[in-house]
Symmetry: C2
Subunit: 316 residues, 2 copies
Amino acid sequence: MYRKEIKVVDCTIRDGGLMNNWQFSDEFVKAVYDSLVEAGVDYMEIGYLSSESAFSRDVVGPWKFCDNKDLKRIVGENKTSLKLSAMADIGRIDLKDIPQAKDSLLDMIRVACYVHQVDKAIALAEHCMDKGYETTINLMAVSKVNETELDEALSDIAKSRVPVFYVVDSFGSLYSEHIEHLARKYRKALPGKEIGIHAHNNMQLAMGNTVTAIVENCNYLDATILGMGRGAGNCPLEILIAFLKNPKYRLLPILDVIQNHVAPLQKDIDWGYHIPYLITGAMNEHPRSAIAWMNSEEKHDLVKFMKSMHDYELLD
Amino acid sequence: MYRKEIKVVDCTIRDGGLMNNWQFSDEFVKAVYDSLVEAGVDYMEIGYLSSESAFSRDVVGPWKFCDNKDLKRIVGENKTSLKLSAMADIGRIDLKDIPQAKDSLLDMIRVACYVHQVDKAIALAEHCMDKGYETTINLMAVSKVNETELDEALSDIAKSRVPVFYVVDSFGSLYSEHIEHLARKYRKALPGKEIGIHAHNNMQLAMGNTVTAIVENCNYLDATILGMGRGAGNCPLEILIAFLKNPKYRLLPILDVIQNHVAPLQKDIDWGYHIPYLITGAMNEHPRSAIAWMNSEEKHDLVKFMKSMHDYELLD
């Protein structure tokens, strides 16, 4: 599937950090960075952009903030073709804490929002554009948004200067027909803008849904190494690269960082497909109850977990 | 996705047995059987139908043969709504060793064949029909078959009495567009017959491709519990049941057998998504080299495995 407009956005540290509070060793982050440079990946989302006042460094690692000195320790001046991205959550970053792009190693800031926050997201994203960054808006939990709200949000995005808008399957509850519907709807409502896809793997559909999005002309493709991410994880980068068969990407550097860094980490942090995530995904619910169950003594009692869900009979 | 024509075919013992030479305990097979009955699944493919002369019982367990006395030990007279199936490979079963259906606990015999064996498969399947069985033909490794050969095979199948023909992604190398193409082609060539789908998970597309097949009106859907099957395994039954939201199927009995029997077995038999299977799938190759690698001391050296593949540069 060769299409020169396609951009691959690796989110291993940013989304994976939701599983370990971004407490990665510098060695790990550097190994991921080096492999992405070697592999020809377009963007590395290395963490969140947050104000120091929003979180304590006693709890979260440096990639919850993406301070320039932390970035520099890993990437130097980043004289490579790999662009760096950070995600900003509404309300967690003061505008005054966002440096000018020329003073930052970050190239892109992606604004995550819920549907009721779209106005704030546009304001934040356009502020970042004015400071010299590339931007996207990633509308989370779209599986919970009704069509009227979505139409209104799309109308606001259409009038904004923000160039990229994402289909985000936060709960891993969407099937290929949903992705097709959303991608077509977004494209129709947003002429001249690019559409992105961020999938979760609760029903082992992250890669399949990403393929559907590619067929539907989405060009910003999120993935993570070995699918590392919250709960069931994301679209695995190594599968996406193998699929794209694009001469600008290489698979071997990704395999190298998997065998030496990412696979060993998975022994300690159990992201990926597990039945509790399937259940929240199939019920279109936030994975938090499944994550809590997976961290409990009862993690292997799948029947009990399902019965603990409100209205589980609707699924059984 | 409610459609009354849909039949779910569980292949846990048959395809999973490729990983342990069908050396399952009776307790395990009985637990799978009981859960499938409770879950309202349509068919249980409990093994292969082979002549005793074709394999040694010193090497393979009883489910390589599906002798009636072994079946009876597990299912009694099978006074349930669950039908029993066995797969027959060309050349591994003498016609004289196939009992009349009225003397067997088996309801269905599925004939697996390669494209050059389609004539033999039709003869074997029609022989089974004459003995009173339901039948299907499962054309393996279709990703290696060219369109001319496929057209010829479809023309022969169209003229046969065999009522069900399968899209089989033996190498786990097909994407949704391939599934769509094949399902449409099969349906067009085979008016009045049902189409089935048997997917493998090398690129984490087994469930996504099964959804595509459902959308394309395939009605025979193969799956296995926790995806147990050769190499990367199959479409997971629990995800398929959760997706179908069909009132005749239940999820809880499947979760019960997962937590008490299938998940514990996965600690010893490492089926499922692993990078060597991704590589053979993405290269459209038989998984045997990946299976051998996964059983070797070097299983974690992914870079070395990829470099051991002929023409690996085409993928990198």
